[in-house]
């Protein structure tokens, strides 16, 4: 029996400020509007008539833009969201947002940082003032950063081993740039200075690297939010090109389980190939579709009846590259057999038409379901804008998925699996084979 514990967000790390614990009716004619402002900020809006409005301000300020001497900057940056800025103190931001029932969180992945606000329309005006004050003119006061150290430590301690395995996989595959960890190394905690953060912010939190999206509000509102931001026009941080090296990294952590991520280079975001690979990942398997149900996916069948395990196909796409593969959690004693079976499937997937059809349906449902949640819709619009300069509605993406033929999926799959396999592993690795033994 496999479990759903792989349905964790692997590639994003969320930092929540507890102003308020964190929609409703959908207007049928809700239309997606996008534009690019003169200062190059991308703006998107879906005015769906929701009484709760979500606003996301995203920047190209993920961990891939960290210089090798200052790894962990992006983690500290997202953790510092809500600290005192030039125009508002941390106390003011926290109390004001809480008083009006608004909630705010900052999250980040390898490419981007997202500042997302949720507020009822009734209180939106006031909430937007504070969203602006959180994002603009960040100061990173050293004493506030040192007060935040225990929270960074908590973040690291509460990482699940699956997330660590995927993080190691990225490092093995890309080394630098996309290989940079999403998380600060324990030894670097407290060592990232206010000046480093200010430099990083001044070269990444700029109008040209920014997208503002709003769900439950108008395009005009989104444009006003974007124009009101007080951002430096300064530099433009560059990332290492995403060269795929391939390799393996292992972290022995003990315990009863081994968590392994295997992957080959995938396709960049927005490309037809990345959509085909997303279908293929679903087709490989994503755990049982019904609670307590049997797992009949190709991946589960390949691994066979070895007792409880969890396995899923996975596909992530970045601006210039991606990873496609399998994540697996398995009791330590079965790790060898399970991993060999999974890697055999990855090297020769040979997916049936039915499996690909099921994969298409599952991906469509996921895309449509995610668009129902205001926060994920708002963040996904900002991401699309930053990747491609335009955004598609979930319904249009679902249509694109429909257009894919089994042949398209098989062809893309055949081209990526020729590459060298990378591996990241965490947990009890006593019986986990090395990548050249697979």
């Amino acid at each position: 029996m496999s479990s759903k514990n792989l349905a964790l967000p692997f590639v994003r790390h969320i930092t929540i400020r507890g102003y308020a614990q964190a929609a409703p009716a959908v207007r049928k004619d809700a239309k997606l509007q996008t534009s690019v402002l003169p200062n190059k900020t991308f703006v998107a809006a879906v005015d769906n008539g929701s009484p709760v409005t979500r606003v996301t301000i995203a920047f190209k300020a993920g961990s891939r833009y960290e210089p090798q001497t200052e790894l962990g900057l992006a983690h500290v940056l997202r953790s510092a969201a809500g600290l005192t800025t030039k125009n508002a103190s941390a106390f003011m931001i926290s109390r004001k947002l809480s008083q009006i029932g608004a909630s705010f969180n900052a999250s980040g992945d390898r490419e981007f940082i997202y500042y997302t606000l949720e507020a009822s329309q009734e209180n939106l005006q006031e909430a937007l003032v504070y969203l602006n004050n959180i994002v603009s003119n960040q100061e990173f006061r050293p004493w506030e950063l040192s007060d935040n150290v225990s929270r960074l430590k908590f973040d690291i301690l509460s990482l699940s081993p699956q997330v660590r395995a995927v993080d190691l996989l990225h490092k093995a595959a890309f080394r630098r740039g996309l290989g940079n960890s999403l998380f600060i190394a324990p030894k670097k905690i407290g060592k990232i200075s206010s000046e480093s953060l200010q430099h990083f912010a001044s070269t990444t939190l700029t109008p040209g690297r920014c997208a503002v999206s709003i769900v439950g509000g108008s395009q005009d509102t989104a444009a006003l939010v974007a124009q009101a931001l007080q951002l430096p026009a300064g530099g433009d941080a560059q990332s290492n090109a995403s060269t795929y090296f391939g390799g393996e990294l292992r972290k022995e952590m003990g315990g009863d389980l081994a968590h392994v991520a295997l992957a080959v280079p995938g396709a960049p975001a927005g490309s037809p190939q990345s959509l085909a690979l997303a279908v293929a990942a679903k087709a490989l398997g994503n755990g049982p579709v019904t609670k307590w149900g049997a797992d009949n996916t190709p991946l589960a069948k390949a691994i066979g009846n070895i007792g409880p395990f969890a396995a899923a196909g996975f596909n992530v796409s970045y601006s210039d590259s991606g990873l496609f593969g399998i994540v697996l959690s398995v009791p330590k004693d079965e790790a060898n057999a399970a991993l060999k079976a999974a890697s055999k499937l990855l090297k020769n997937p040979n997916l049936s038409g039915d499996a690909i059809k099921a994969g298409k349906n599952q991906l469509k449902l996921q895309v449509l379901s995610e668009a129902e949640s205001g926060v994920s819709l708002s963040e996904s619009l900002a991401v699309q804008g930053l990747y491609t300069g335009s955004a598609k509605s979930a319904v249009d993406i679902a249509k694109d998925i429909d257009q894919l033929s089994s042949n398209d999926v098989s062809q893309v799959l055949a081209s990526v699996i020729k590459n060298k396999v990378s591996m990241g592993a965490a947990g009890n690795l006593a019986f986990v084979p090395y990548v050249d033994e697979l």
Partner: protein, 334 residues
């Protein structure tokens, strides 16, 4: 109070972009602008409720009034096997089609209530259960008083009170700036790893309380702060705090209805509990009507000098004796 606060906000607002943005009128319209819930009753009593929100996915759920409280000592545990079911798929569904399907597949079920166990009145007894296990690193403690049932009008003030106490865990920032007294105390004094206030409702009763996870040596200090906050709710909670809790509660209520699956669960539960779907604007109006005096009165009725139910698992040695905990449920005042 709300009106005054709104006016003040308009006057004191700084002159910037925000003026041209959404207004309270838009919010009211948005609350009313919710698709109606259509309800059909089959001959055998099965109720079919649907809401066509125009979303690209549809969730169909089947809800049966058969929780564990209907079990007898002989079949204890059987409800675990009868968990509610919900199916999600792409594509909308019309009410008529749903009724036809239900008629076809469920219309044949006979409504013979001979074997339905009669529900005895649910009696609440303040008491405690401790499962001491010193090998666990952290103690898990829940403490609650008897709350209100779904249909009890006191439920809304209790929900406001519950939101006011709030929830917190160590991953959250802004600890000492947090507006929740308890979150500030927990963060500044390092009193617990997480706490979560809860208000669990059933048909005729409920449980209102808090759950927290703490190091063994911090159990007592945390409990002291919790009971201090509870007594404050009963006696001296302020308008400003209640205003904050109402705003958070309203936002949470709306956030809970994000997507077809949560809406489906909401419809199923409300049809079983109230026999109707409560419109969002009605809930909004009921929350708006709550004042600090309401919260004080209702908390006084449900919390003050009541016997709590206490459950604790883990290294619980430092948890006070029941009589001492009970003594924290009132204040000695002249």
């Amino acid at each position: 109070m709300l009106k005054v606060a709104n006016t003040l906000r308009l006057v004191s607002k700084k002159g910037n972009n925000a003026r041209a943005l959404a207004t309270a009128v838009g919010y009211k319209q948005a609350l009313v602008n919710v698709p109606p819930t259509q309800l059909t009753v089959l001959d055998n009593g099965i109720r079919i409720a649907s809401e066509d929100s125009g979303a690209a996915t549809a969730t169909v759920g089947l809800w049966i009034d058969a929780g564990s409280r209907y079990e007898t000592s002989k079949n204890n545990g059987v409800a675990h096997f009868l968990e509610h079911m919900a199916f999600k798929g792409a594509g909308g569904i019309e009410h008529g089609k749903l009724v036809d399907l239900a008629q076809k597949h469920l219309g044949g079920l006979k409504n013979t209530p001979v074997d339905v166990p009669e529900l005895a009145p649910c009696r609440y007894t303040g008491s405690e259960i401790r499962v001491r296990d010193d090998s666990m690193p952290l103690a898990h403690i829940a403490i609650a008083v008897e709350g209100a049932g779904w249909t009890d009008p006191d439920n809304i003030p209790l929900m406001v009170a519950n939101t006011l106490v709030g929830a917190w865990d160590r991953s959250q920032g802004g600890g000492t700036n947090n507006a929740s007294y308890l979150a500030r105390a927990a963060s500044a004094g390092n009193l617990c790893h997480s706490f979560q206030s809860f208000n669990t409702c059933y048909k005729d009763t409920g449980l209102w309380g808090i759950y927290y996870v703490a190091e063994p040596m911090q159990i007592e200090d945390m409990l002291f702060n919790i009971q201090h906050e509870w007594m404050k709710l009963c006696t001296s909670v302020t308008e400003g705090e209640v205003e904050r809790a109402k705003n958070i509660l309203k936002t949470n209520m709306l956030l809970q209805l994000d997507g077809t699956t949560p809406v489906c669960e909401d419809i199923g539960r409300q049809i079983l509990c109230y026999n109707r779907r409560i419109p969002i604007h009605e809930l909004d109006a009921r929350i708006n009507a709550v004042t600090a005096q309401n919260v004080r009165d209702v908390c006084y009725k449900f919390i003050y000098d009541r016997c709590p139910a206490v459950a604790a698992v883990g290294p619980t040695e430092a948890l006070l004796d029941y009589t001492r905990i009970r003594a924290g449920m009132y204040w000695l005042r002249a």
